[in-house]
Structures are given as structure tokens and as C-alpha cells.
């Protein structure tokens, strides 16, 4: 599914050159459940952004589902993102003026899916997330856990192969966090590749594979 070869990413901060990623090699197979852990500033988020095609490396090669992505232009990467990758953010990033159903519909709208098909799939996803009775609520009328489930629904509605979650429980209480993790794990059991950045060692232990990052380099465990 994912093949990173000798990937580096540098940022220019003032006069200083920050090496966010140093020569990272990483292979993740389809259907894996991986937690990326490490202290802040270790390059976790940069890695996730590069994996999500939101950012491009300065050097190295990244193959996603067999496609070399570093040579693609912005349009092609957007296309790939749309079809292959789902994002879950710590801050949910729901559009506040849209209802739960409309938020879930948004990626399909951007991808020009037919309206009939869209309605059908939104219903399906709402049901899977246990949110059928919250379809017409706006985000400010939902609890934190419900919001994150709407965001997960939005991430999987295009049926991507890869789900990237950046601290998905960071803004949630213990109980809601547990709920959200269970939803994500259920999706992983159904075959989706799940990559999760987290601070929480408890969550890290639940993953079948943990990647520790330090100072822009990967130390693979287990």
C-alpha cells in the first residue's frame, strides 16, 4: 500500500534549516493498523501530511498503491487524495453551517457523484456511524464524540483504501475517545488501512504495529 524510500523533508525557518524528516524508509501493507508515536516536533505530523499527499518531500520516493506520487502535479494529487485517502483530524474540521449529512456528502459533491447515489451512500454511512437520528443536526448541536464520528463518516464515504487519523481522540473525553477508537478499529477490521498519530501510549498499544519517531527519523518497533 505505502512505500517510502529515503524520504526527507526540510523547512526553512528564518535562517535555520529544520530537518523534519531524515531519510525515512517505511513500508505499510494494505489492511495494517499502525500507530505513529513520538514527542512533539519529532516529525509525526509532517510524515502524516506527506503520506496524505498534502505535502511533498524534498527528496526520496513515495509510492501509494503502486503509483509514484512525487512526480504528480497538484491536480493529480488532489484526484488521488479524493479517491484513496480519508482524513480524520484532531479538531474535527466540520463545516459549521452544514448538517451532519451534508458534511458527509461534501467529498462526494466535490467528486461530482450523482445526487441519488450520494443520498444512498450518506444514509449508509450515517447508519454505520450510528448517527441516523442526528443527520440534520449541525455540528454545534452535536457532542464531541458525535462530531468526530461525522468526520470519520466523511473520511470513508468515498471508500478510500487508506485512513489517516491525526490525534483523533485528542479533543475528546475518555468515554467518547473510546467510542471513536472502536469505530476506527471496526473499519480496520473491514479491511481499511489505518494510520494513527497519537500521544496516548494506551492507544499505541492497541495498534498491531507501532512506529516511534524521534528527531525526524523512524525507529520501528515490534
Amino acid at each position: 500500500m505505502i512505500e517510502l524510500r529515503d524520504v526527507s523533508r526540510e523547512f526553512q525557518v528564518g535562517d535555520e534549516c529544520v530537518h523534519a524528516l531524515r531519510h525515512v524508509d517505511l513500508t505499510i501493507h494494505a489492511g495494517e493498523y499502525v500507530a505513529i508515536m513520538g514527542p512533539s516536533g519529532s516529525g509525526k505530523s509532517t510524515l502524516l501530511n506527506i503520506l496524505g499527499l498534502l505535502d511533498r518531500p524534498n527528496a526520496g520516493s513515495y509510492r501509494l498503491a503502486g503509483v509514484e506520487t512525487t512526480t504528480l502535479d497538484e491536480e493529480q494529487r488532489a484526484q488521488l487524495r479524493q479517491q484513496q485517502i480519508g482524513f480524520v483530524f484532531q479538531a474535527f474540521h466540520l463545516v459549521p453551517r452544514l448538517t451532519a449529512a451534508e458534511n458527509i456528502e461534501l467529498p462526494m459533491m466535490l467528486a461530482a457523484v450523482e445526487p441519488d447515489e450520494r443520498r444512498h451512500r450518506v444514509d449508509e454511512v450515517l447508519q454505520a456511524m450510528g448517527l441516523s437520528d442526528r443527520a440534520h443536526h449541525r455540528p454545534d448541536q452535536l457532542s464531541g464524540g458525535q462530531r468526530q464520528r461525522v468526520a470519520i463518516g466523511r473520511a470513508i464515504v468515498m471508500r478510500p483504501g487508506l485512513l489517516l487519523a491525526d490525534e483523533p481522540t485528542g479533543n475528546l473525553d475518555q468515554h467518547s475517545g473510546q467510542e471513536v477508537i472502536e469505530v476506527l478499529e471496526k473499519l480496520n477490521n473491514q479491511g481499511i488501512t489505518l494510520l494513527m498519530v497519537t500521544h496516548d501510549p494506551g492507544l499505541g498499544r492497541r495498534a498491531r504495529r507501532t512506529i516511534h519517531m524521534l528527531d525526524g527519523a523512524v525507529e520501528q518497533g515490534r
Binding site: N49, L54, E74, A78, Q79, F89, V95, P96, A112
Partner: protein, 401 residues
């Protein structure tokens, strides 16, 4: 993304930011309305003048005594008094085959009284032909009778206001009135035609020209109205008139001839320029509205940074984000200009209500031009914010930095 979805999404985000949407609609509609109303006023002024001249009569030449023309060269050594333009001069004009009829005019002020009521009014001395030439109509009685212009008669046709003030609801026809120290019989009353070139037709009394001349003791005519046989014959009529007068005035060309076309053309040109000018002033307000749209859209982009980042993460390419923002600002401009058109209709109706005699009509190009400029500026000024939105880095946008 489907077109219908783009539209729906843009509408949704406009509804989301209510205050800014209303602000921009207001600015745009005021801009469009000011263009349409201002140009309507200019156009109205033009039509007003054109109508006034049409009411003056067709194929009309006006002859004035004296020569008023700016010429080079030194001023004459001896003071030149203009020769009188007499009734005989006027009657000679009828010899030209290109002149259908003439109306000599003598004008003066005199007190007009009936019983104990008295009023100072304008007395117009003329002939029967004045009525067809100036399109005067009588509401009661008859106009001045055709007769030898050099002989007077003690008859008068009253303006509607004068009739009302002297007689009230009593019968005026056949009654005797006194103008200065002479008695006249009322033979007709003019229709209430309103104004003509600023002169109220109601406040006038028309009497035979010879009578007026002896009343005011003025051998010279004030004007001679000359009607040519046709529009094409105007030039020939003018030439003949000049020649006939020169023969009678010892070879001196001492009258001034004005054609209404010449005046009309000048007014037309001036007023059209005026219309364009006020239209241009209105367009500046549209430009201001456009800049306001740009500002508010820029604020919208920075407020919606996270949303734009999200759209990009969900697979929206630059072009799509650009398009969404452009659709939004164009929608605003269009809705604003529609509201502006509505507003201008209200404004025009109000102006018509306040000034019924002034024809306030928008020139046909004005609404089209206003809407075109409005949508154009919406698109143009929407471009910068839209480009900024499209260029946002999704990573930075999502992290809220």
C-alpha cells in the same frame, strides 16, 4: 463538481455569513441604482427639452429684430441701432413660396380687469395663424378670427388661469374685460396646456397684433414666427426670409433667424453628454462597491481558512476552490444588481410622483450597462480573494496557523 452543486454550495456559504452578504448586497444595489437613476435624470432632462421644442411647433423659424452675432473685426465707429421689424416686414415674408404662414408677435404687460378684479398679465399681440403654428387650442369659444392683420379689433382670448382668476365659475365668453384703458370682448379661452419653455400659457391674454401695437405704442415686433412648407424647405425659407427683409431694409442684413433644429441639436448634445457624465459618476459608486466586495471576500477567505484547507484535503484542486469563490462573488454581484434595479424602479417612480411634468425615463442602455459593470466588478474583484483562497497551503490552513 457539478454546476448545480457549486451554485448550491456558494449560496450556502453566502447564507452562512449573513452580515457580510447583506452589506455587499446593499453596496452593490446602491451602486446599480445610482447609475440607473442618475442616467434616468439626464435622459429625462433631454426628453424634457426635446418635448418643449416639439411643442413649439414644427418647421419653425424664429425671426428677431437686430443682428446678434459674434464676428471678428473692429467694432463699428457709429453706434448701430437695430432697425425696427415692422408688421409690414412680417407680411412681406408671405411672398416666399417656401413659407406657409407667419405669426407676428408683440409682447407687453398690462393690467387686465373685470369688475373689481384686476391682474397684471402678459399680453400677446398676434394673428389667427399663431394658433396653428404654436399648436394652441381653445377650450371654449374660438381663436382670433382671420382678418387684416393691420387692422385691430377689440377681442381677446384668455389663458386658463387668467380666466379662472377674473371670472371664477362665471361665464367668461362674451364678457367685456378691460386691458389698460381699453375694452375687449372675450371670444375664447385657451386649454390648460401647462408650461411652454418656462412661460405659463395660462397667464396670458392674446389680442390682435395691430391692437397690441397701438396699446403698447410699439411699432417694432418682438418676434416673427415663420412656418416653412416642409422640413426640407427650411433652408430655402430661411434664405428667402433673409433676402426679403434685406430688400426692405436698404440692403442691410439686420435680423436674426433661429431654427429650432439648431437649438435642439445643441441641447441634445449637451444633455447627452450630461447623461454620460452622471452615468460615469454612478459607475464610480459601482467601483467602490466592487472594492468592498473584494475586501469582504478577503475577510471571508481568512475566516474560512480551515474550511478551504479541508476542501483541499478532501480532494478539491486549486481550480475548484477558485471557481467556488468566484461563483460566490458573482452571485453576490448579480443579486446586488437585481436588487439595485428594483431600487431604481422605486426611485424613478418616486421622482415621477414628485415631478409629474418631468419625463424620468432610464435610457435603454443604462440597466444593461449597470448590471454588466456590476457583475464584471464582482468577478474582477472576486478574483484576488479567490486566488488567495486557492493558493492556501492545506497543511497550514488546517492547523489554523
Amino acid at each position: 463538481m457539478r454546476a448545480a452543486d457549486s451554485l448550491g454550495f456558494a449560496l450556502g456559504s453566502l447564507r452562512g455569513g449573513r452580515v457580510r452578504t447583506w452589506l455587499m448586497l446593499l453596496a452593490m444595489s446602491i451602486g446599480v441604482a445610482s447609475v440607473v437613476v442618475l442616467t434616468s435624470l439626464g435622459e429625462g432632462a433631454r426628453r424634457y427639452v426635446v418635448n418643449e421644442f416639439a411643442a413649439l411647433g414644427t418647421n419653425l423659424l424664429i425671426m428677431l429684430p437686430g443682428r446678434s452675432e459674434t464676428k471678428g473685426g473692429p467694432p463699428p465707429l457709429l453706434g448701430e441701432t437695430p432697425r425696427d421689424l415692422t408688421l409690414q416686414d412680417a407680411l412681406t415674408l408671405l411672398r416666399s413660396p417656401h413659407i406657409r404662414r407667419i405669426a407676428p408677435l408683440t409682447v407687453g404687460n398690462a393690467p387686465v380687469s373685470h369688475g373689481s378684479l384686476s391682474r397684471e398679465v402678459t399680453i400677446l399681440g398676434s394673428t389667427a395663424d399663431l394658433f396653428p403654428i404654436r399648436h394652441f387650442e381653445v377650450a371654449q369659444g374660438r381663436p382670433l378670427p382671420p382678418m387684416d392683420p393691420e387692422r385691430g379689433a377689440p377681442v381677446a382670448v384668455l389663458g386658463a388661469t387668467v380666466r379662472h382668476e377674473l371670472f371664477g365659475n362665471k361665464r367668461a365668453l362674451g364678457a367685456w374685460i378691460r386691458i389698460a384703458d381699453r375694452r375687449f370682448r372675450v371670444i375664447g379661452v385657451l386649454t390648460d396646456e401647462g408650461e411652454s419653455l418656462g412661460q405659463d400659457l395660462g397667464e396670458m391674454v392674446i389680442i390682435p397684433v395691430a391692437t397690441a401695437q397701438s396699446l403698447f405704442n410699439a411699432p417694432s415686433l418682438f418676434r416673427v414666427l415663420i412656418e416653412a412648407t416642409s422640413l426640407e424647405a427650411m433652408g430655402l425659407a430661411e434664405r428667402d426670409a433673409r433676402q426679403l427683409i434685406r430688400l426692405r431694409h436698404d440692403g442691410e442684413d439686420d435680423v436674426t433667424l433661429i431654427t429650432q433644429d439648431a437649438i435642439l441639436a445643441t441641447f441634445n448634445k449637451i444633455l447627452r453628454a450630461l447623461t454620460y457624465t452622471v452615468g460615469g459618476i454612478g459607475a464610480i459608486s459601482l467601483l467602490v462597491a466592487g472594492i468592498l466586495i473584494m475586501n469582504v471576500m478577503l475577510i471571508a477567505v481568512s475566516q474560512r481558512t480551515a474550511e478551504i484547507g479541508l476542501m483541499k484535503a478532501l480532494g478539491a484542486p486549486r481550480a475548484q476552490v477558485l471557481r467556488l469563490f468566484l461563483v460566490e462573488s458573482t452571485l453576490l454581484a448579480l443579486a446586488g444588481s437585481l436588487a439595485g434595479l428594483l431600487l431604481s424602479v422605486l426611485g424613478i417612480l418616486l421622482l415621477r410622483y414628485l415631478f409629474p411634468s418631468f419625463p424620468v425615463v432610464p435610457p435603454p442602455w443604462a440597466p444593461l450597462a449597470a448590471v454588466a459593470v456590476a457583475s464584471g466588478s464582482g468577478l474582477l474583484f472576486g478574483l484576488l480573494p479567490a486566488r488567495r483562497a486557492a493558493a492556501l497551503d492545506p497543511v497550514l490552513a488546517l492547523s489554523g496557523r
